[in-house]
C-alpha cells in the first residue's frame, strides 16, 4: 500500500509536479492564504520525473482559466488533477497562453498600463527563456510580477 505523505482529498484540485521550492509561490499567486477551505502543501517530495517536487492540494475548489494561466507563468510543467469522490476525474497539463490580460504587471514604471485604470496585456514572444511583450509599451521582459 502506498504511504501518503500528503493525504488524499475527496473533492477539489491537486497541483502536482510543481518544481521543488515553488509551492509557496503557487499559494501566494492563487491567494490561497486567504482561502477559507483546506489547503495542503507538500514540499520536496520524491518524484520520478523531477527527483524532488512540490504539491498543493486545494479542497473544494476548481481553478479558473485565469488562475491556471498564472500557475503556467511560474511553473509551466505542473499537472492539474481534478478530484471527485477521492478519484482523479480529470488530469491535464497547462501551458502559457499566447496572450494574457490582467495577469502580469508591466515592469516598466513608465508604461501607460501602470498609470491608467486599464488591464495589462501581454504577448508570449519566446518560450525559452520565457519572454513576454507588453501590448502597450512594446517592451519585452524576462522578469515580471504577477498581478
Amino acid at each position: 500500500m502506498r504511504a501518503y505523505r500528503v493525504y488524499a482529498i475527496e473533492k477539489g484540485t491537486v497541483i502536482d509536479h510543481i518544481p521543488a521550492g515553488k509551492a509557496l509561490k503557487v499559494v501566494e499567486i492563487l491567494k490561497l492564504d486567504q482561502f477559507n477551505k483546506i489547503v495542503t502543501v507538500g514540499m520536496n517530495l520524491e518524484s520520478k520525473k523531477l527527483v524532488r517536487k512540490d504539491i498543493v492540494k486545494i479542497e473544494n475548489k476548481n481553478l479558473s482559466k485565469q488562475e491556471l494561466n498564472k500557475i503556467a507563468l511560474i511553473a509551466p510543467k505542473v499537472t492539474i488533477n481534478i478530484i471527485k469522490n477521492h478519484k482523479v476525474d480529470e488530469k491535464f497539463k497547462i501551458e502559457i497562453p499566447d496572450f494574457m490580460e490582467n495577469l502580469v504587471i508591466c515592469p516598466n514604471p513608465n508604461c501607460i498600463s501602470r498609470n491608467e485604470p486599464t488591464s495589462s496585456k501581454f504577448y508570449k514572444t519566446k518560450e525559452k527563456p520565457l519572454t513576454l511583450k507588453c501590448h502597450y509599451c512594446e517592451k519585452g521582459f524576462k522578469d515580471f510580477k504577477l498581478k
Binding site: N108, N110, I112, E116, T131, C137
Partner: protein, 336 residues
C-alpha cells in the same frame, strides 16, 4: 482568364512556365494596402508594402495643391513639448484644407483635474476626425487608439515609438540616396532612450540595411530591440566611436543625448559630450554620405558640417510635411 491560369481544356493544371508566385502577383497587381481609419501607432505594425505606399503617396503630396481634407478636423494633443512634429502636422492639415484643434500644454486642460486619458479621448473623438497624440508615457497612443473610433496617430509615446518620424526619415533616405534597400546606416547617440532610433532600426531592417549602432556604453541599444533584430536576421554591430564606421556609411543618423529622459542628472553629465561630429571626421567618407538628425541638435553636430554638402537634417525636417500629408490623407480615406 481560366485558360490563362492553366485551367483550360487540354491544359496542364498550370503551364510549366507559369509559376504560382507570378499568378498570385498578377492577381494582386495594383492592390494597395488600405489605410482607411487605420491607427498609426507603431512602426512594428507597418509592413514593407505599407511603408512603400506611404512614401509613394508622400511623393505625390510634394506637388498636391488640392484641398483633400476640406471639412475634416484634426485634434493635436501634445502632453510633451514639440516643435517640428506638432507644427508639421498642423501645417499639413492646413495645407490640405482641414482645420486643427488641440492643446500643447496639458496643464490648462481637464487632465490637471485628474481626468483619465481614456475618458478624455472618448470626449475628444467626438470633436475631431483624426487625433494626433504625443505623451510622455509609453503605450499612451495605443491606449488612446483603443478608446477612440477615429484614427489615432502616435506622435511619440515616451521612449517607445515615433512612427511618423521614422516614415519621414525613410522618405528622406530614399530621396537622398534614390533607394533604401541595402544601404549602410550608422545610428549614433542616445540609443537607449531615443524612440526615433528604435523605430528606425526596425524599419531599416525591413529593407535589408546594415546597421552600425554608435553610443557610449551607458546608452547602448536596449537588449529587447537587439533581440528583435537578431530574430529577424537584421545585420548590425555596436561601436563606441563614430570614426570607426563613418567611412563605410551611406547615412549617418545622429541623435541628441536627451537630458529629459535621464532619471539621474549626474549620469547625463557623464555622457552629454560623448561625441561631436565635426568636419575632421569627414575626410574619407563616401561621396553620397548624408548626415541626418531628428533635431533639435545641441552640440552633437558642429555647425561646420552645415555647409559641408553632407548635412541633410533641414531637408529631413521639411520632409515632415509631405509624409504627414500622406498619412492624414490615407487614414481619412481621401487617398485610397
Amino acid at each position: 482568364m481560366l485558360a490563362f491560369l492553366g485551367f483550360g481544356k487540354n491544359q496542364r493544371f498550370f503551364p510549366k512556365h507559369l509559376n504560382l508566385v507570378y499568378v498570385f502577383r498578377f492577381m494582386t497587381m495594383g492592390k494597395q494596402p488600405s489605410f482607411l481609419s487605420r491607427d498609426i501607432i507603431s512602426v512594428n505594425e507597418l509592413s514593407k508594402k505599407d511603408i512603400i505606399r506611404i512614401l509613394d503617396v508622400a511623393k505625390i503630396m510634394e506637388k498636391n495643391k488640392k484641398p483633400l481634407l476640406n471639412g475634416k478636423v484634426l485634434a493635436t494633443l501634445f502632453f510633451e513639448p514639440s516643435t517640428r512634429t506638432r507644427l508639421s502636422f498642423e501645417s499639413s492639415m492646413n495645407k490640405l484644407g482641414g482645420k486643427v484643434i488641440g492643446f500643447r500644454n496639458p496643464n490648462v486642460t481637464s487632465f490637471k483635474k485628474g481626468e483619465t486619458l481614456w475618458d478624455a479621448i472618448n470626449v475628444i473623438e467626438g470633436y475631431s476626425d483624426v487625433i494626433v497624440i504625443r505623451h510622455p508615457m509609453e503605450g499612451a497612443a495605443r491606449l488612446a487608439s483603443e478608446a477612440a473610433e477615429v484614427p489615432v496617430i502616435n506622435a511619440g509615446d515616451g521612449a517607445n515609438q515615433h512612427p511618423t518620424q521614422t516614415l519621414l526619415d525613410l522618405y528622406t533616405i530614399k530621396k537622398s540616396q534614390g533607394k533604401i534597400t541595402g544601404l549602410k546606416v550608422a545610428i549614433a547617440g542616445d540609443l537607449k532612450y531615443g524612440r526615433t532610433v528604435h523605430s528606425l532600426a526596425h524599419a531599416l531592417g525591413l529593407f535589408n540595411c546594415e546597421l552600425f549602432f554608435v553610443s557610449p556604453k551607458s546608452l547602448k541599444m536596449p537588449d529587447y530591440i537587439k533581440d528583435d533584430l537578431k530574430e529577424k536576421q537584421i545585420k548590425f554591430s555596436e561601436h563606441e566611436k563614430v570614426s570607426v564606421v563613418i567611412d563605410e556609411a551611406d547615412i549617418l543618423y545622429a541623435t541628441r543625448i536627451q537630458k529629459e529622459r535621464f532619471p539621474d542628472p549626474t549620469e547625463y553629465e557623464k555622457v552629454k559630450n560623448a561625441y561631436v561630429i565635426d568636419s575632421s571626421l569627414l575626410k574619407k567618407v563616401k561621396k553620397n554620405l548624408k548626415i541626418m538628425h531628428p533635431l533639435p541638435r545641441v552640440n552633437e553636430i558642429d555647425i561646420s558640417i552645415d555647409e559641408s554638402g553632407y548635412a541633410y537634417f533641414f531637408e529631413q525636417a521639411h520632409n515632415g510635411i509631405p509624409v504627414r500629408k500622406a498619412i492624414l490623407s490615407l487614414v481619412l480615406g481621401k487617398i485610397k
